[in-house]
Amino acid sequence: MAILEIKQVSKFFGGLAANSDVSFSVEESSIMGLIGPNGAGKTTLFNCITGYYPPSRGEIIFNGRRLNGLDPDKVCMLGMVRTWQKVRPLAKLSVVDNVMVGALARTSSLRTARDLAMEQLRVVRMEHRADFIAGGLPIGERKKLEVARALATQPKLLLLDEVMGGLNPAESEEIIQLILDIKRRGLTQMVIEHDMKAIMRISDRIVVLTSGEKLTEGTPEEVVSNQDVIDAYLGESHA
């Protein structure tokens, strides 16, 4: 069953079409990869889905509910949460307090929220950092903090915007294991990633965007052998 359906979504900034007529759907408990060259409109699509921009045209259906025009906080309460490509830690708060802010979406008790937060910190293996001030974390741990904080809101669908960007191979590997781990727990994920090897390993299906339009969609094997994708990434002369 599809948990998220994107139906002919377009987003215009003035005359520029950042997304045009994008349609696909994400199956429950699967991982959908979203790839494309820089400026293809991947993050814009995330912003439309999570309520930061209202789509100019089209529909976004999450769990049978139309999301168009809902604010990001409402979208989160419905069970969809995103992380940020440019990480956004609550810099002056401690690591556990950061995650607690996420947990407080579902509870009003600080004690319960703290327990939930510690649980998520264990998931990303950062429990030893709980009392560290978030602003002082290195990039790898900031990325993991983003994931823990998002998980603490108890989502059904997790949108990850380049969680491996800027990480070294060991850190990336850790994130890959984390994403697979989250999948095993039944959560649906949609992942924007530039690291092709990583996205091939984790995705069940992949959507390719170029210049705001959907180029193709399929399993990782289908996508890598698609001539259009090769052209888009390597330039037509390569073919």
Binding site: T50, Y52, D71, P72, D73, K74, C76, M77, V81, R82, W84, R88, P89, L90, A91, K92, L93, D97, M100, V101, G102, L104, A105, S108, L110, A113, R149, A150, T153
Partner: protein, 349 residues
């Protein structure tokens, strides 16, 4: 555990001393200073909830201070409504004013929010000057007699001395500290700090930005209006510049910035620094001291110059103090104290 008990005990002792001071201290001047201190603490703590925790640096809190003061004073003068009843009308009005101001200013972020908050407070100040039938314009409102406070027929106080104001002042200071403590230790406090640190991130985590900003504003505005009402009845006089002027807004904000934004005790520290400092300058105490220790001859040119000008210099010194705090203690005195404590801990281990 041991530390918590020690802290609680110290707090209780300070409170007990404060409560019995009026029994032994009769000097009206000393009581006046303490009352000003309590007033500043409650102003600083009130601003802290919106400015310190939610990070919305309002430079228009005179609006709430003034509305609280004016409503209570106007009702007392025109309708003989006692202030402890009039203040509720002030609170009701200030909630409406805050929600209107919030709906305008919270569309803006950062410096634009600051500018809008100044503009709205200035609109209220100009209205108070020009709506002469309602507010008596620039002449202000003078109330010389406060009705006696009775409880079941017995007169508890007739407000003829400063002592009742002293206790109301303590009550206000404790109330605002208590509410700040509650905010800090609740979901609300976490959400406000999340909004302060990163509004977009907070939004994505299920926090309704406009709802929580408005909650913070209403709490902050209501507490500020209580301080305003208290100021009005204590001084017995309000006019546009003293309760609605821009320097009122700045003063409220400075208490918190100098003490430490977003901390429980920051505004208390800020008030402890600012109130004595501005009083010492205003009352020419500094010049007198310089003369007394023989550094300056009272009749010399320098002495006369200081006597003439130093009392007006408190605004200048405020400015210098703010620059120093921003340069060397970006987290205020509270942050500075914490840093010192951390350093000492590190050296000890």
């Amino acid at each position: 555990m041991y530390k918590t008990i020690l802290k609680a005990a110290a707090g209780l002792i300070v409170l007990a001393v404060l409560l019995i001071i009026p029994r032994y201290v009769e000097s009206p001047y000393a009581l006046h200073m303490m009352i000003l201190l309590f007033l500043s603490v409650s102003q600083g703590e009130s601003w802290n909830i919106l400015g310190g925790f939610a990070g919305q640096h309002s430079v228009g809190h005179a609006a709430y201070f003034g509305v609280g003061a004016y409503t209570t004073m106007m009702l007392m003068q025109a309708q003989q409504v006692p202030p402890w009843i009039g203040v509720w009308a002030g609170i009701a009005l200030v909630v409406v004013v805050a929600l209107v101001i919030g709906s305008i200013c919270f569309r803006l972020r950062g410096p634009y929010f600051v500018l809008a908050s100044i503009a709205v407070a200035e609109i209220l100040r100009l209205s108070a000057i020009n709506l002469t039938t309602l507010t008596n314009g620039a002449e202000g409102i003078l109330v010389t007699e406060i009705p006696a406070f009775r409880l079941g027929g017995t007169v508890l106080t007739d407000f003829s001395t400063k002592v009742p104001f002293y206790y109301i002042g303590i009550f206000l200071a404790l109330l605002t500290i208590g509410i700040t403590y509650w905010v800090q230790h609740s979901k609300l406090g976490y959400f406000l700090q999340a909004i302060r640190e990163d509004q977009d991130a907070a939004h994505s985590l299920g926090i309704s930005i406009s709802r929580y900003k408005n909650i913070a504003l209403v709490i902050s505005a209501v507490l500020t209006s209580l301080a305003g009402a208290f100021y009005g009845i204590y001084v017995g006089f309000v006019d546009p510049p003293t309760v609605l002027g821009l320097d009122v807004s700045v003063q409220i904000m400075l208490i918190c910035i100098i003490g430490g934004m977003g901390t429980l005790w920051g505004p208390v520290l800020g008030a402890l620094v600012l109130v004595p400092m501005s009083e010492a300058l205003r009352s020419n105490m500094v010049t007198e001291l310089l003369v007394k220790v023989g550094m300056v001859n009272a009749e010399s040119k320098v002495g006369l110059f200081l006597k003439e000008n130093l009392s007006h210099a408190h605004v200048l010194l405020y400015g210098i103090l703010v620059v120093l705090v921003i340069l060397f203690m970006p987290d205020g005195l509270m942050g500075f104290v914490k840093k010192l404590a951390q350093r000492r801990n590190r050296e000890a281990t």
